[in-house]
């Protein structure tokens, strides 16, 4: 078993440092960390995005992220989970979300990380607005991703 450390679920308007976030979930006794790093794409279905704006229902988003972490601990043999989502204006190529999962064995880390990003996109009340040269749209649902 890995040495127990704290999970974390955070929302921030500061740039995300993937490596620093991944290091925070690593206990000395674990074997592998899997990190998902989502970032702003320039094109969605052929339409060019200039930048994105992320908005959250912050209090609820934190609760939902913490619920996902609890569920992940129930469903996967993992040790630590860190989730950080960024809000506000994000330029093309900037990181919008980092999910890092440390586990004694890599299979559980991969499975949990993939499950967490899927569920985050389904349940955590955060929305993105794509801003184009000729307008802007709030994206509703994650079908386009």
């Amino acid at each position: 078993m890995c040495e127990k450390q704290a999970d974390f679920a955070e929302i921030t308007s500061e740039p995300l440092e993937t490596g620093a976030i991944a290091r925070r979930v690593v206990p000395a006794n674990c074997g592998a960390t899997v990190t998902l790093d989502g970032y702003v794409r320039q094109f969605t279905k052929g339409r060019e995005t200039l930048y994105l704006v992320y908005e959250a229902y912050e209090a609820m988003a934190r609760k939902e992220m913490e619920k996902l972490i609890s569920e992940a601990h129930q469903n996967f043999e993992i040790e630590n989970v860190g989730i950080v989502h960024r809000l506000g204006r994000l330029e093309i190529g900037e990181t919008s979300v980092v999910i890092a999962v440390a586990a004694p064995h890599r299979r559980a880390a991969f499975a949990a990380c993939e499950w967490l990003i899927k569920e985050l996109k389904r349940t955590v009340p955060i929305w993105k607005k794509e801003v184009y040269a000729d307008g802007e749209t709030w994206i509703e649902g994650d079908a386009g991703k």
Binding site: G38, Y54, E55, A56, Y57, A59, M60, A61, K63, H85, S96, V97, I117, L120, K121, R122, T123, V124, P125, I126, W127, K128, K129, W138, I139, E140, G141, D142, K145
Partner: protein, 79 residues
């Protein structure tokens, strides 16, 4: 009795407010309260809406009481 209703993203744009207060005659079931809110802002009907009560997704059958925090928003798109 007064309850607070929050809007985010597309619903905030439609309503033109991020937060309103509504006055209910008495404690009521969530379904009925949300129907009343959407009735007041019919421009919301073109969206697929989600509802929350006190920062939890609504079941619909919970009773809304004075001081509760409701929220109306579209399908989420974080990540």
């Amino acid at each position: 009795m007064k309850v607070q209703v929050l809007f985010f993203g597309a619903t905030a744009d439609e309503v033109g407010e991020r937060e309103i207060e509504i006055d209910l005659e008495s404690a009521a079931q969530a379904d009925a309260v949300f129907a009343q809110i959407v009735g007041k802002f019919p421009q919301l009907e073109k969206h697929s809406l989600l509802f929350a009560v006190n920062q939890e997704y609504a079941n619909g059958d919970e009773i809304i009481n004075e001081g509760d925090e409701l929220a109306v928003f579209t399908a989420v798109s974080g990540g």
